[in-house]
Amino acid sequence: MSALDPLHRTKAEEPPRAPSAWARFFDSDIWYSFTRSPVTVVSALIVLIFVVGALFAPWIAPHNPFNPAELNLMDGFTPPMGEAFSGNLYLLGTDDQGRDVFSTILYGARISLFVGFCAVLFAMVLGISLGLLAGYRGGWVDSLIMRIADVQLSFPAILVALLIFGVARAMLPRSMQGEMVIWVLIIAIGLSDWVQYARTVRGTAMVEKNKEYVQAARVIGIHPLLIMLRHVLPNVLGPVLVIATIGLALAIIAEATLSFLGVGVPPTTPSLGTLIRIGNDFLFSGEWWITLFPGLALILLALSVNLLGDWLRDALNPKLR
């Protein structure tokens, strides 16, 4: 001991408490770079407004557009801020059935965001598991998974989603289609999007598995599954987070595209994409607001999420710090 005593510190020197997770977050580089980027702060605010508006739509929306008892057909085609037949004021006008466009956007964003989040989550779980397995195991497992990914990547994502949607619709009984349609949509978008996660995770996992801390865990005799989950996974999550954020914007747009094409959410419970499609019918007869405002909402939402993803990518890239 005596030979190394200069390095030997007493126990009381440091308080044996780690800083809390919040304190560490507000002290981190990420938070600093967030507060320094006005565009990011604005995008985050817009996304936050959308999420809050979507979550609390039944309480925030001035009308319930899906309650037939509240609808007044005579109020149809009221322009934004215009005088309605019933004397109600509609901020963004009404559609052909007299539904308040502002309220339908809130309810539509609810469905769009729900489908987006769930699809990204599904794609993430699938992609991360397969990517981790391929990267860590290597060999024929890796080849098989990655060839499937390559084949899928050679089809446009929207085509894959359309295919899955079509198959599911043919297989499900008609009575169940109404309630199942959202879940089918989630699976379709998720399945068309997992490849990105799998590829990223595989690449990072292949680098991490050769690092000595993974070998140390193998020497100790930790089960391979636990090594993957506890050692490799936390170290590959950074890039995945970035893809997931940008993927959220893409999933929302994919959902809107499918709904716009008429294979998505039915008009009785419309998402943003369905709203745009319905409004499209009236675009040339002068009722521009029915399609314009849901469209603007979609653009704003997708753009903000995308900008957030871009910022996150730069913030997590050590070379750009």
């Binding site: 001991m1 030997h8 020197e13 780690a18 000595e212 070998q215 140390a216 020497v219």
Partner: protein, 362 residues
């Protein structure tokens, strides 16, 4: 003594680790499709070739050699990170790669641990030091009570001259030497008897190297540890070893008690390596470097692997693989010239003094 090859070293002492005719080949063939299309053969790289040695309990066996000679592969074979192609590794009589059940494997694994070369890669950057050190304890179920584990981790940190409070920090908050000590603490957590150290000091400053080496020596004395020490630094090896093996291109060309190998090297490669150690007495004198590069292990020279660089090589060296022969000091050497008694003092001095230019001309 010579008849029982692996036991020679520890003939008086009980061997904890025995490596018997161990070989490892890596498949470095191109992918199947490429092979089929271009009509190529499968190709193998023999990283470790028929290596045998044994380490007595509580002793240090060092392996030295140039980069790419198979030292690290051997270390990874011994701890079970690679499966051997041929041969056996016995740890206290048990062979890890033959044990089928996880429970039996865990019993052997608990008794051997490894210290890695790069202290910046061997600790998971997202784990607290406390959890890193506790991992072997939890994995082997040595303790279940959280408080007991925390206490044990604190003890281990103090054993490697850190403080218990350091357990709450993350690896990036430490210097290279401190991290290597954390690595040692983790290796000691499961009370192992045998530590494989793969160049544990080569990534560190010279001043810090001495601290780590002294710590390792202290721990060996206190805990009765057995070391397999891999290094390319002969000065470090001299400081630490009881026994020394010299590797060249996958083969152990000479081994014996470290003192004897240093004082009385037999194999031409060992002589040249030792000649390359800088020391004060030699300053100003013309130094004789080991000539040439290590040949590709993909296509090793026939006969003795060292023959293209050896000043004493003759036809037999190019044709026939030398077998281990006992040395006067109880070690073994693989060299035809030594066996034939060709290496007299004058011959060696002449050969080593010959100007370099003459040899280099093709």
């Amino acid at each position: 003594m010579a008849d029982v090859a692996p036991a020679v070293l520890g003939s008086q002492e009980e061997a904890l680790v025995e490596v018997v005719e161990l070989s490892k080949e890596f498949d470095v063939s191109p992918p199947l499709l490429t092979r089929l299309l271009q009509g190529q053969q499968k190709s193998f790289l023999r990283a470790v070739d028929e290596v045998s040695f044994s380490i007595p309990r509580g002793r240090t066996f060092s392996l030295v050699g140039e980069s790419g000679c198979g030292k690290s592969t051997l270390a990874r074979l011994v701890v079970g990170l690679y499966a051997p192609t041929r041969g056996r590794i016995l740890i206290d009589g048990k062979e890890l790669s033959r044990l089928r059940s996880r429970r039996e494997q865990a019993q052997v694994r608990r008794r051997l641990q490894m210290i890695f070369q790069d202290p910046f890669a061997s600790l998971n950057p997202r784990w607290r030091v406390r959890d890193i050190i506790a991992e072997p304890i939890r994995a082997h179920g040595l303790m279940s009570d959280r408080k007991a584990i925390d206490r044990r981790v604190g003890e281990l940190l103090e054993l490697v001259r850190l403080t218990a409070a350091d357990g709450l920090k993350y690896p990036h908050e430490f210097s290279g030497g401190q991290r290597q000590r954390i690595s040692i603490a983790r290796a000691l957590a499961s009370n192992p008897e045998f530590l494989v150290c793969d160049e544990p000091t080569s990534a560190l400053d010279v001043s810090v190297q001495a601290q780590i080496l002294n710590l390792m020596k202290d721990l060996q004395r206190e805990l009765g540890l057995t070391y397999l020490f891999i290094s390319h630094d002969l000065a470090v090896v001299y400081h630490l070893s009881d026994y020394l093996g010299v590797m060249y291109l996958g083969r152990v060309v000479e081994w014996g008690a470290a003192r004897n190998v240093f004082a009385n090297p037999q194999h031409p490669y060992t002589r040249m390596l030792l000649d390359a150690i800088p020391d004060l007495e030699m300053s100003g004198r013309q130094r004789i470097p080991v000539r040439g590069e290590v040949p590709s292990p993909m296509d090793p020279p026939s006969g003795c692997h060292f023959n293209p660089r050896c000043p004493f090589a003759n036809e037999r060296c190019r044709a026939e693989i030398p077998m281990p022969i006992p040395t006067v000091h109880g070690g073994e050497v693989r060299c035809h010239a030594v066996e034939e008694g060709r290496l007299t003092e004058e011959v060696v001095r002449d050969a080593l003094r010959r100007p370099l230019a003459e040899e280099e001309v093709p």
